[in-house]
């Protein structure tokens, strides 16, 4: 069963315990200065942003059909059956195509080291594999970040909107975006106010390149046969012309 995270911004109190738990889980530094940073980076995989008394988390959406995993030339990024999108640092060549391609601009880079790697939230793949909730969900004191089966979380999110329609934007972000994501968001303010792209396709983006890539074997077979044929004809013609010229001498 595919797992997911439901973040309900209306329950969030901006305590940033999820940020701290995430840093601890991933062996990253955490202190007041870092807590104040409002941007995801190689040392901050999730952030709680605030606008007045409205809050919103950012983390890797762990897409159902992840763009990052499709573009990575060495398959360092992968979608697991349980939901998390993992990163295998030993494969990464540091090309940064994942950073360019991710529709949510999630992967970040270690710019200040000689041998950089990519960093991103991996939905605590190891914990999830053991049947545990993600570190952020376990740390959340209010239930704003909730871990569970994705299907059950969707039902619950729909239920919350139905029960308090005036409290929510009537949309579960991540239900259909780029074909759906393991992370689902609820909010009382439009998602674009926190920088979430709202005009994204409901089709998984990897289809855009796959349409072209899947045609290539035909292009090659057909093209090579065509070129071979043209060569055969043109060189025959020349051979014939040469023979005629000779007999004419």
């Amino acid at each position: 069963m595919s797992k997911g995270i439901l973040y309900d911004a209306t329950l969030c109190i901006d305590c940033k315990l999820c940020e701290r738990a995430c840093a601890e889980k991933h062996g990253l530094p955490y202190n007041e200065a870092i807590a104040a940073e409002e941007k995801q980076s190689a040392h901050k995989l999730t952030v709680v942003m605030d606008k007045g008394d409205k809050y919103m988390r950012r983390l890797c959406m762990n897409c159902q059909d992840p763009t990052c995993a499709s573009v990575c030339p060495v398959a360092a990024l992968r979608k697991t059956a349980e939901g998390p999108v993992t990163y295998d640092a030993s494969r990464c060549i540091g090309c940064r195509y994942c950073m360019l391609a991710c529709p949510f601009s999630v992967p970040k880079y270690q710019w200040n080291t000689a041998l950089p790697l990519v960093q991103k939230c991996d939905m605590c793949a190891d914990r999830v594999a053991q049947g545990l909730p993600t570190a952020c969900a376990a740390a959340c004191p209010t239930g704003a970040t909730k871990f569970g089966d994705r299907d059950a979380l969707i039902a619950e999110a729909q239920d919350r909107i139905a029960k308090n329609p005036e409290q929510y934007v009537h949309h579960i972000y991540g239900l259909t975006e780029v074909g759906g994501t393991s992370v689902l968001l609820l909010s009382s303010v439009p998602f674009e106010e926190f920088g979430y792209p709202v005009h994204v396709d409901n089709q998984p983006l990897p289809m855009l390149t796959w349409h072209v890539l899947s045609e290539l074997p035909q292009v090659v077979t057909f093209g090579a046969a065509l070129l071979g044929g043209i060569w055969w004809i043109t060189s025959r013609r020349q051979a014939v012309a040469a023979a005629e010229a000779k007999s004419g001498d």
Partner: protein
């Protein structure tokens, strides 16, 4: 051989290479953050946008010409094959060097060859570029073999030459178009002037145009600096082919921006509109207008200017796709740091230097050395694939 003399261009080259050397040391000791203006918001800059995207495009003459000469059997163009194959081979080597600068972990550059992801366009490009560089090396090899009089190797090379050319053309078709496909995945990020499902086709056609333009350009350069060049009738035919290519590209491009409703964005003005217009004016409108006049098309000066415009115009196009078009969505302005510029300039300088040395010491512009009238017959069949049919 004459003793070494410092000329203006040699001084410039030395200066550029020195700056490049300093930048190289900094790049590999301090990392990308300190030596580039790249950031999490803007992960690809000059080294990808120019060195890779434009480098591969500028090397496209190689496959265009080998196809013309060996597949379509237009043997008249044989004298140009060598310089273009050489440029292409150098071009790809330099692209690989640039990649070693840009990749965070260049020492893993071979990973895509063993760690597969067939859904990735970049995986496909990595394979094609690797294989094509090998094909180019084999196509270029006879020149070295001749020089060293390795008859046996020459014979082996000739036996496999036609399959080699076909493989080269197919590999080029794939990766030239795939450089465009790389950007199909960012519909929400690339500006509508440049994002189109046609990206692969446009990249392919522009590669052919630039391949032709570069061949004309190189011939003129060699004429100036080495006193060796192609015969006018050949250049004129190349110019005509270039005109046709440019018109095909313009029709595709114009219809596409028009159909997607992107054309009206020009009226909004701004950075993107300016560079979009520059690209169209320099790479398409100006050279088409010039080449349409037979007088221009049939003069070496006119051909030279047109080819330079085409090259600059399409370089602008690729930089627009890779840089200009990505800025608005990233919310940043990117301009390369001096270290990035120094590395790129050194790579270009090294390319020119090696090309000049090759023209000087290897039989590159062979036809010019034979008597024009009897060139066909007297010149020993030296060029790359000539004995294939035996």
């Amino acid at each position: 051989m004459a003793t070494f003399r410092w000329t203006f261009w040699k001084v410039v080259l030395a200066f550029v290479l020195l700056a490049g050397a300093v930048a190289t040391v900094l790049r590999f000791s301090e990392g990308l953050g300190a030596t580039t203006n790249l950031s999490d918001a803007f992960p690809w800059g000059l080294w990808i946008g120019f060195d890779v995207m434009c480098g591969v495009m500028l090397a496209a003459g190689g496959f265009t010409l080998t196809a013309t000469v060996y597949i379509f059997n237009l043997k008249k163009f044989k004298p140009i094959v060598r310089p273009t194959v050489l440029t292409a081979f150098l071009g790809y080597l330099l692209v690989v060097i640039a990649l070693l600068f840009d990749l965070g972990r260049g020492y893993r550059i071979w990973h895509p060859l063993v760690m597969w992801n067939p859904r990735s366009v970049m995986f496909e490009v990595a394979w094609c570029v690797t294989l094509y560089t090998m094909v180019l090396a084999l196509e270029f090899a006879p020149i070295i073999f001749e020089r060293l009089r390795l008859e046996k190797l020459l014979r082996i090379q000739r036996a496999i030459s036609i399959p080699l050319v076909i493989a080269g053309v197919m590999l080029s078709t794939l990766h030239q178009s795939s450089l465009g496909s790389l950007y199909l995945i960012v519909p929400g990020k690339l500006h509508p002037f440049w994002y189109t499902p046609l990206l692969p086709l446009l990249f392919f056609v522009s590669a052919i145009c630039v391949g032709l333009a570069m061949t004309i350009f190189e011939s003129s350069m060699s004429a100036r600096h080495f006193g060796k060049q192609l015969e006018m009738p050949l250049l004129i035919r190349l110019g005509r082919a270039l005109l046709v290519g440019l018109i095909v590209y313009s029709v595709l491009r114009f219809q596409d921006v028009f159909d997607r409703g992107a054309l009206k964005l020009i009226t909004r003005g701004g950075w993107e509109s300016g560079l979009f217009l520059l690209e169209i004016a320099m790479g398409l409108v100006a050279p088409i207008v010039l080449l349409i006049f037979p007088k221009v098309r049939e003069s070496s000066g006119g051909l030279y200017i047109s080819s330079v415009l085409v090259v600059l115009g399409f370089v602008t196009n690729r930089m627009n796709v890779a840089i200009t078009g990505m800025e608005a969505s990233a919310g940043v302005h990117y301009f390369p740091k001096w270290t990035e510029l120094a590395v790129t300039a050194s790579i270009i300088g090294a390319g020119f230097g090696i090309f000049a040395a090759a023209v000087k010491y290897l039989p590159i512009f062979v036809a010019e050395e034979a008597h024009p009238a009897s060139a066909e017959r007297r010149e020993p069949e030296l060029a790359v694939l000539s004995h294939a049919r035996l």
